[in-house]
Amino acid sequence: MTSLVELMDYDEVVEKYDPVLGLEVHVELHTNTKMFCGCANVFGGEPNTNTCPTCLGLPGSLPVVNGKAVESAIRIGLALNCEIADWCRFARKNYFYPDMPKNFQTSQYDEPIAFNGWLDVTLDDGEVIRVEIERAHMEEDTGKSLHVGGATGRIHGAEHSLLDYNRAGVPLIEIVTKMIPGTGKRAPEVARAYVTALRDLLKALDVSDVRMDQGSLRCDANVSLSPKTTGELGTRTETKNVNSLRSVERAVRFEMTRQAAVLESGGSVTQETRHFDESSGSTSPGRKKETAEDYRYFPEPDLVPIAPSREWVEELRGTLPELPWERRARIQKEWNLTDEVLRDLVNANALDLIIATVEAGAKPDEARSWWVSYLAQQANAKGIELTDLAITPAQVARVVELVNSGALTNKLAREAVNGVLEGEGSPDDVVEKRGLKVVSDDSALEKAVDEALAAQPDVAQKIRDGKIQAAGAIVGAVMKATKGQADAARVREIVVARCS
């Protein structure tokens, strides 16, 4: 489906052009109810079950602002170092689209609730870049269209379309950066790092599920190229449908190389919306609009202005949790980590998991060891992020506890973890179901040792001759015979005792 696109070599692109980024992130808040009605705000569900006259836009229905969503918007604004408006309004953004029940979106236009902030973003090598935030405003999500028939899954060429309004009216916060110039060849990395930092921040604020795969965090990447020779700003494109952190980076990089090729060949970049295709890693133009869209914004007459008192704003400032960067600084100090180790943990998405595991009772070393080795391997093997493994920090802490109490050996502990990852329940459930327990009955072990010694008489003789290191083979055989449920150290003691 992708037509061949001429691309320019990346190094050449950044030699000739300065990329300018702009990032718009939409965050679905995980409030109990929707933005303007009392319907449950839950992901998925039978189509059109979480709906009411208001979120279906039925004639006569009216919106009522969800106070919790306003609170979340203000907390996000404060965490992003924004000013909070004394007074702001909703506006109507008018355009026709079937998945938008009223054919206007209730949004904020020139009066956002939060504006003029910044977010410090740490790159992979530890460099910190300050991204300026233009605004964070409240709006409502649209429903979803499912286009049936046709090759592309888009509306064009579909035989018919199904509409699901469960998502219509879900509270959204749109966070818009100012132009981010001067990032040079690191532009794609900056884009990814910004979205990552924002995601971690929103998670710490506990305002959203921030699941890019489920659409609760969505990023539109604006990219333009400014020729180094003239320094003039280029025409920008807006790439949508960027559904993972990695895709953010790939999409920006692709656009840079595509735009550069267009410019090099004497063409000009078209200002347009483009779609990112995960499989090909390329972007393609969205549906061409015949006329320039005029949203005819005007203040929403069905809602009254929002005027958060300064007392309330300060009260909300007081509810801000330890923010990710503050937490990292504290942990680095407390655990005495080098910059490099800390960065590796952050880059591997392991730090928060380790911290949570420690908070659940494990020691830092124990927690770190699980997440950066065994669990990291499992995530790698499955091709998923560490954070997406089906085990919680509390469950890891429980496994550590079971090992420390002697109830599990390290090997059994890994099996318990495997069980959890395979959906067999909690570590205790897995221990129970798989019958994982250390064989601590000496008579059973003695019997197994005697059998192993009898099976390998030459090895037994070596041990009796004083070559204690040969005991390893017998211990191994016993462990195999007991399916790993014996305590290897105790087996070794018994082997030595039987041979002396």
Partner: protein
């Protein structure tokens, strides 16, 4: 007996029903019979809910028999403007685009009426989406004025007012965006009240212009209107623009007014509302009303509200702007009419064909005006300027109310005009709302009370009384006192 029942006031009927002298079923049936006998000529109702009405009446009768406490208007029939949603009962807003739609929910006003035991007879005709001053813009044919069937009953709520004048119902609900309660009240010789904006919930009122729409009571007497006002008014958490304050004591004010004493009350006559375009019969009726108010003890003087001259143009930018957005949802996707969906057409084409077929010319005209007024590059000049005029009008009211307790004017410049007379002259039609629009723009309460018949053409004339926000009771007091002094002026013969 039947004749007595359909000529009684709502207050009288309520007393009879609650004392057991007559049943609500009898009263309801009498009105249903009257509708059956007259509505072919009047066309006030788009839908008569015989079963629903009688079921509600029976319930009230049972409650009365069981000695239960019932609401002040329980058992009394009412005509509901078809702009209010009614669960499971057709709600068309006078438009083809909603033909056959059965709302899954009740408007707050509908719910309150049901809870109060009021019997909803059916849904009344109106200009499509409440856009008009004659009910000629209804997709279901015009309503005829019971005083002269060749004439308009006013609009947009012509159905509700005609039903009152034709004694098809003693009570009705209207909505008033630029005069749609008061102007029909004036030309049918009935009482119509636009409460303070936010006084009555808009939840379930199919929006024309959100910042102007206000539901209110219609009746044949001031006291009946007050009784109905208190039932439908009050804060509603489903409407963010509803006012969280006690309902003004309008019933007490109406009863107080019946004593006929207005001494010391300061009344301002708005000088902007006279002169060219005003019928002499209307002006003479108004002068007579002024004299009567003076006799009741009121102090009356002229007051000038210069920005009222700009009310009409401002209104015809704000209302169409909001309507262009409010009516966008009628796109064939979820409910109502769908045209051209034969498998060959795109979504946009189906939307477009449906709106083309489903909306009448006046609705289309206003959608186009509003779309234009909100367009980038024109917004400041049109919508922005109109909002400034709105502020000036509010300031003019505030200044006037420093010196006057209420303001008065004719409700409308002329008596009922002939059906078809202004159909091709939108500007002439729009001028019917000249005197009523300022109160919508300012959000202040205003009402029309009959001031008898014009000595020119023998048709009803209305006196408009305006009060400051949340002072709705002031105008009820004046209206009730005036009504008592004025006396009966006859009624239409049907």
């Amino acid at each position: 007996m039947t004749n007595d029942l359909i000529h009684a006031t709502a207050a009288e009927l309520a007393a009879k029903i609650h004392s057991g002298e007559v049943s609500s079923v009898e009263v309801t049936q009498a009105h249903l019979d009257r509708i059956a006998a007259t509505d072919e000529r009047v066309n006030a109702f788009l839908h008569v809910d015989t079963e629903g009405a009688l079921a509600q009446a029976r319930k009230v009768d049972e409650d009365v028999k069981a000695g239960k406490q019932v609401g002040p208007l329980a058992g009394v029939p009412l005509a509901l403007k078809d702009v209010m949603t009614t669960e499971g009962v057709p709600t068309t807003v006078g438009s083809k685009i909603l033909e056959g739609w059965l709302p899954p929910y009740d408007a707050t006003v509908t719910r309150k009426l049901k809870e109060a035991g009021v019997v909803i007879l059916g849904k009344t005709n109106m200009d499509e989406f409440a856009m008009g001053s004659s009910t000629e813009n209804s997709a279901y044919g015009p309503t005829h004025n019971p005083w002269d069937l060749d004439r308009i009953p006013g609009g947009s709520g012509g159905g509700s007012s005609a039903a009152l004048a034709a004694h098809q119902a003693p009570l009705a609900i209207g909505t008033d965006t630029g005069g749609s309660i008061r102007q029909p009240g004036a030309v049918t010789g009935t009482v119509g009240v636009k409460p303070t904006y936010g006084g009555v919930s808009r939840y379930g009122l199919v929006a024309f212009s959100s910042s102007l729409d206000q539901a209110g009571p219609c009746a044949r007497t001031v006291l009946d209107a007050a009784l109905l006002h208190e039932i439908i008014a009050g804060y509603d958490h489903m409407d963010s623009t509803s006012i969280n304050a006690p309902v003004p004591p309008v019933v007490a004010a109406a009863r107080e007014g019946l004593s006929g004493d207005l001494s010391g009350l300061r009344i301002g006559v708005v000088t902007q509302f006279s002169g060219e375009g005003y019928q002499q019969g209307v002006l003479r009726s108004f002068e007579a009303a002024v004299s009567q108010l003076k006799e009741l003890g009121a102090e009356i003087a002229d007051v000038s509200c210069p920005s009222f001259d700009y009310a009409l143009p401002a209104y015809y930018l704000i209302a169409p702007s909001e309507c262009s957005s409010n009516l966008a949802r009628f796109d064939a996707m979820r409910y109502g009419l769908r045209v051209g969906d034969d498998g060959t057409r795109s979504t946009e084409e189906v939307m477009s064909l449906t709106r083309e077929a489903g909306f009448g010319p006046e609705v289309k005209r206003r959608i186009m005006i509003g779309t234009y007024a909100l367009s980038s590059g024109y917004y400041d000049a049109y919508y922005g300027s109109a909002q400034k005029v709105r502020t000036l009008i509010t300031q003019d009211f505030a200044k006037a109310f420093e010196n006057f307790d209420v303001l008065i004017s004719p409700t409308t410049p002329t008596t009922a005009f002939k059906i078809g007379e202004r159909a091709n002259d939108p500007m002439a039609m729009y001028k019917a709302d000249l005197c009523t629009i300022p109160a919508n723009l300012a959000g202040t309460p205003a009402m029309s009370v009959p001031s008898g018949l014009s000595d020119e053409d023998g048709l009803p004339v209305g006196l408009q009384i305006m009060a400051p926000a949340l002072q709705d009771h002031r105008m009820y007091r004046v209206a009730a006192a005036y009504e008592a002094a004025r006396g009966a002026f006859g009624g239409p013969s049907l």
